[in-house]
């Protein structure tokens, strides 16, 4: 009991740090994904931009969705949002709090990907190499090259092996220029994200602390309640199954005894515990019959009351209680407004 309570407390008080841990792992995973990804610029005029911007923007979107998928609380949020009101009102502030905290955590891995991509520079170099200012950086006066030709030459900047425009603009100069722009963008992006995070975190105590405490308490409560309910149901299912199976074995043994017309032998007063656990099945044939019946004809999901001492379980010599077509009297009044 103490152990359960300690574990619960650990998860509850550390739920935030648990979610932060998942966040950190996803951020590291996104860095690893980027370094393992083999970036191959196509070096063709119209494809460069699409490829470069695609690599910059599509994986963050995937990581964002993944952040939501991996978060267990998303189903809790959806359930709380869609449930009928019933006897308990719904508080939109709690829903907003849950959604915001999930979205904030899901944004970290995409932000890391975008930062790493920009600071590395390959994507921007690939995407914008055709927009390099040739007039300032190279020889714009290079003779007789049409606009299309120039575009094609510039598009090959990221691919050093096939670059043939050294007279137009030096390859290193262009790459350095583009990388400088990319890194500047990257640092500005990181600065912006950090400033936003700082503002969000530090302005909250100044404005809505009481509302925040309320929303946080009730969102934790909903989570705990759901977990406790699941535990209660699991415990109930265990007891249900235990009693159901016990009644099955009892019914089985009573049934067989009735079929063989033996008098039920009342267990002697000093019967050991092992005898009780045998549930009245004490030979191979009976056991085989029990197993066969368990497979062929499972008992209904309906626990009848424990047998009275007069043993009316076998008085009728017919219908063993395991057959589904004999409902007990107490449960005949099922109401149908379920």
């Amino acid at each position: 009991m103490d152990k359960f309570r300690m574990i619960f407390q650990f998860f509850q008080s550390n739920q935030e740090s648990f979610m932060n841990g998942i966040c950190g792992i996803m951020a590291l995973a996104s860095t690893q994904m980027y370094s393992a990804f083999d970036f191959n610029c196509p070096c063709l005029p119209h494809y460069n931009l699409a490829y470069g911007l695609g690599i910059l923007l599509v994986p963050p979107f995937i990581l964002f969705l993944l952040g939501f998928v991996l978060n267990n609380n998303i189903s809790m949020l959806a359930e709380e949002w869609r449930r009928p009101q019933g006897q308990r009102g719904k508080d939109p502030a709690v829903l907003r709090y849950m959604f915001c905290s999930m979205a904030q955590r899901a944004m970290i891995a995409p932000a890391v990907w975008v930062s790493v991509t920009l600071l590395d520079g390959k994507c921007i170099t690939c995407a914008f190499c055709t927009s390099v200012p040739v007039e300032t950086l190279g020889n714009a006066s290079h003779p007789h090259l049409s606009q299309g030709e120039i575009q094609r030459v510039l598009a090959r900047i990221p691919c050093k092996e096939i670059y043939n425009g050294q007279q137009l603009i030096a390859n290193e100069v262009a790459i350095r220029y583009l990388r400088c722009i990319s890194q500047a963008l990257g640092w500005c992006f990181v600065l912006l994200m950090t400033t936003l995070a700082f503002l969000v975190r530090s302005l909250r105590p100044c404005f809505s602390q009481a509302a925040f405490l309320k929303s946080r308490y009730w969102s934790h409560y909903i989570d705990i309640e759901r977990k406790l309910f699941d535990e209660t149901c699991a415990e109930h299912a265990r007891s249900f199954a235990k009693v159901c199976i016990q009644q099955f074995f009892e019914g089985m043994s009573t049934d067989l005894v009735a079929a063989r017309c033996h008098l039920p032998r009342k267990a002697p007063a000093n019967a050991g515990e092992a005898d009780e656990k045998l549930l009245g099945i004490t030979d191979q044939g009976t056991m085989n019959m029990a197993l066969k019946n368990w497979h062929r004809c499972k008992p209904p999901l309906h626990l009848h009351p424990p047998a009275l001492p007069t043993g009316n379980g076998w008085a009728g010599e017919g219908q063993p209680p395991t057959h589904p077509s004999a409902p007990q009297k107490e449960t005949a009044a099922y109401y149908s407004w379920v």
Binding site: M1, D2, F4, R5, F8, Q9, Q12, S13, E79, R83, P84, G86, Q87, R88, L119, D120, V173, R176, Y177, R179, C180, Q183, A184, W187, C188, L191, T194, T195, F198, R201, S202, P205, Y217, H220, Y221, I224, E225, L228, F229, E231, T232, C233, E235, H236, R238, S239, F240, K242, V243, P300, H302, L303, P305, P306, L308, E330, T331, A333, Y334, V338
Partner: protein, 334 residues
Amino acid sequence: MDRFRMIFQYFQSNSESVMNGICGLLALASVKMYTSFDFSCPCLPQYNMAYGLGIMFVPPIILFLCGLILNRQSLVMLEEWRRPPGHRKKDLAVIRYMCSSIMQRAMVAPVVWIIVTLLDGKCLICAFSGSMDPQKFVGFANVSTVQAQQLLAKVPCKDEELMRNTTSRKAVTRYLRCWSQALGWSILLILIIAAFLARWLRPCFNQATLLQARHWSNYIDIEQKIFEETCCEHSRLFAHKCILHFFESMRQELKLHSFSLPREGEGDEEGEDLLQGITDQDQVNKLLKTWYYEKPPLDVSQAHQRHPLVRERSPLPWADNTSTHSKFPQHTNV
């Protein structure tokens, strides 16, 4: 009692060391970031200065903000600053103490970045190579000003064709690196002397006020943590009661509608308790459906008023009778 004392001691001794640990991790992270960052100077006249100084000053700002965000105590301090006085006066000395300790810890990682940058030298070489006086260096003395500017701007790029292996480029690089490292070591020396003096001379001034401020700032931190823990504990107990009450009311409803005689006495007491009177597939389905469609109200005070004759059943596995009844007798209707 013992448990509370252990927890107190843990929080007291470790909130400072947790913050110091975060501070150290950020400092290491800043060194790692610098070494893994691919510094590439643009080697263009107007861009060099912006790039070099940008790399030197923008990441420290980011690290400073990160240091503030990751430090839990900054939130505590803000809350303490902005709360209405209520029954408890605010002590500005405590807030000032917390603020200064947060700032000191947040400044470590930016300072580490700046010092590593200066000791490495690449940033300063990139930023100030264009500001060198061409007359001082042999290779740049005989060219026009504009060309000299261009050439000087290309000094940081070793693989630049024009500048490869020229002694003038190496001379400029060495000169700037020497200045950069001198600046780096000087800043480090000054900071360490300042830290040493501050720590050594502090007991000479206002030691009593300092002890008070430190005690109360620790207190506020611990109080906040314990409040959150208590709320968690409370919501767990609340949920437990709510669910028990729900099962009980389900059982009452089913009894009411099935006209069965209440069964007392024989039978598997513990099993029946755990089953809560729900012994049928349809009943279980109804219970689950009601749980979704009509969650019970957040009010467990009626558990004791509505069913006074309900006998106390043995507790569910995670509950402890003593704690359920002793801790929060009043907190039932939030």
